[in-house]
């Protein structure tokens, strides 16, 4: 069984952390991952930086630009991660935009992920339909879970379809917007969280975008299986450095 599915079966609310590979320094990637696991994080999204990250707010744009300037590439990331399964056992997901994966070759990319022990991919700009028709078989061949996004504007009908082709979890984007930290959620989010919870979907839901602290983490996980923190974590390591990662995780739960 894929590590993601195993993790989703655990009887607890899951905390996931996103960070940009190769940031703050090119060779920080492995240390960040190891530190996050030791701090009790349940799974990790490793951001493969892209020059034009459409769905990201200022924080992750800046970390992506810095990582690229540091020399991060798809090849470098795979090299950094080649021995990661010797030290880390929690689920690892690569999150990135479609173009760099397309240039590497989608099949070659999935194959490499399997070799290294990457469990899933999140590709915000790969359309659901395109995945379903052209890439699903490749992902399945290498045992890679593809995670789809839904938003407050996604129709029930489309959510049902996405649920039907999801074999891991559904990434619930908390509100209409790009990535970025928020201090709290309002009524609109609560209503949306309730609506999705009441749909009784097959795939568990993990909420991301706007989760930044214990309050937003609790609000999100009161309705969903877990939550993902990205920008707030990237901001934190920008300010405090990667040595302080355990302190950040302690403040969340």
């Amino acid at each position: 069984m894929n590590r993601i599915n195993k993790k989703l079966q655990e009887d607890k609310k899951l905390l996931s952390i996103y960070f940009t590979a190769g940031y703050p320094k090119l060779n920080d990637t492995v240390e960040v991952i190891e530190s996050l696991e030791k701090s009790g994080v349940d799974f990790i999204e490793i951001g493969l930086p892209f020059s034009d990250p459409l769905a990201d707010g200022p924080t992750i744009q800046a970390s992506s630009t810095a990582a690229l300037e540091n020399g991060m590439t798809t090849e470098v990331l795979f090299n950094q991660l080649k021995d990661i399964r010797k030290t880390v056992s929690i689920p690892l997901i690569i999150m990135g935009y479609f173009n760099p994966m397309m240039q590497y070759g989608v099949e070659a990319f999935c194959k490499k992920c399997e070799e290294i022990g990457i469990d899933g991919l999140i590709i915000p700009d790969l359309p659901v339909q395109d995945y379903n028709e052209n890439y699903k078989a490749i992902f399945e061949k290498y045992g890679i879970i593809n995670v789809f996004l839904i938003t407050p504007q996604t129709s029930d009908e489309r959510i049902r379809f996405i649920d039907s082709i999801s074999n891991g979890f559904i990434y619930m984007v908390s509100s209409a917007g790009v990535t970025g930290a928020k201090d709290s959620f309002g009524n609109t989010q609560e209503t949306y969280f309730d609506r999705i919870a009441s749909m009784n979907l097959n795939a568990p839901q993990v909420i991301g975008f706007g989760i930044s602290n214990a309050e937003t983490f609790q609000q999100a996980t009161s309705k969903a299986k877990g939550a993902i923190i990205g920008s707030a974590f990237v901001n934190y390591i920008t300010d405090k450095g990667i040595d302080k990662i355990p302190d950040f995780i302690t403040t969340i739960r």
Binding site: F50, S51, D52, P53, L54, A55, G57, P58, Q61, T65, L68, T73, T74, E75, Y97, F98, N99, P100, M101, M102, Q103, Y104, P124, D125, L126, P127, V128, D130, F148, L149, I150, T151, Q153, T154, S155, R158, V173, A176, G177, V178
Partner: protein
Amino acid sequence: MSYFVDENGYYGQFGGAYIPEMLYPNVEELRQNYLKIMQEDSFKKEFDELLKEYVGRPTPLYFAKRLSEKYNTKIYLKREDLCHTGAHKVNNTIGQILMAKKLGKNRIIAETGAGQHGVATATVCALMGIECVVYMGEIDIARQAPNVARMKMLGATVVPALSGSRTLKDATNEAIRDWINNPVDTHYIIGSVVGPHPYPDMVAKFQSVISEEIKWQLKEKEGKENPDYVVACVGGGSNAAGAFYHYLDEKEVGLIAVEAAGLGVDSGESAATSVLGNEGVIHGSKTLLMQTKDGQIIEPYSISAGLDYPGVGPLHAHLCESKRAEFISITDDEAMQAGLELCELEGIIPAIESSHALAVFKQKEFKKDDVVVLNLSGRGDKDLNTYIKYFKL
């Protein structure tokens, strides 16, 4: 082979809608409605009236006598430079503002490089009394000050794009992010035949008025609708899409797309996507684009701010791959000389984008009785500073 978009939004292997889920409802709403709306009588009537009374269409198809003599062929200039706001861009913004109204949107966003599309968008928003926000790279804001002032006078808010290389591609990213943040009330007026389906098709259709007019105008002047060649410059490719549109299936009409070579195709400072690009995804569309082997998008260069886009629209990628159109690259220097030549021979100061198209006559020899229609996409007022600097006027 078809050169028009298929039902899935592709031109051959290019096109599609590679967008984050957050944009799906907006783009899907547009996809389901744009053809229906464009076919409504009330829409067509208002669009045609505005093009006539407000934009000043039809634009002349002018026989350039002295230019023709010099190059020993028959050259007609399609005078899009005489459109209100100074370029063809307004054909599209008129269409899209009417589309936005039909869709019930009350806020408009746009991206702009040189500022021409931003001005054309701000213009139609003023005309309709609709809020307008234009994203423009911080670097472009500095080098295109007159157009920034024009947009402000027209009531638009100009927001600097501070991310990435702070030019057109980043302004486009910021506009897309704004649309993600405002998914209900906002329509995004893309300025070229780029972006996710249905934008490339919709923009091409709004611009197709150019070749629609060329057909009947040429019939009046030459007794035939089809020229031997149609020439247009290509950045994203909207004026070329409009000039080519009604000739795509007319095999005897040669289509020539002129790209900006910048300092030279191999100089590292270029925007010649057809030579330097390969298949990839940019701004929601699978197309030819300039990128590293790792798939990071490369910042292009051209002296012309309207041509320094790292991709071309998917229609043009298809025209290039299928060899339906011939792609030619023109350097900064060649374009500037061709622009000056048009001033001297015909008394017309062209936009530097259009000057690239004009330079085709130095690169390619036409027969004496060939009829060549060149789309003069814009006027040179906006480029005076660049001309002054270049020619030390």
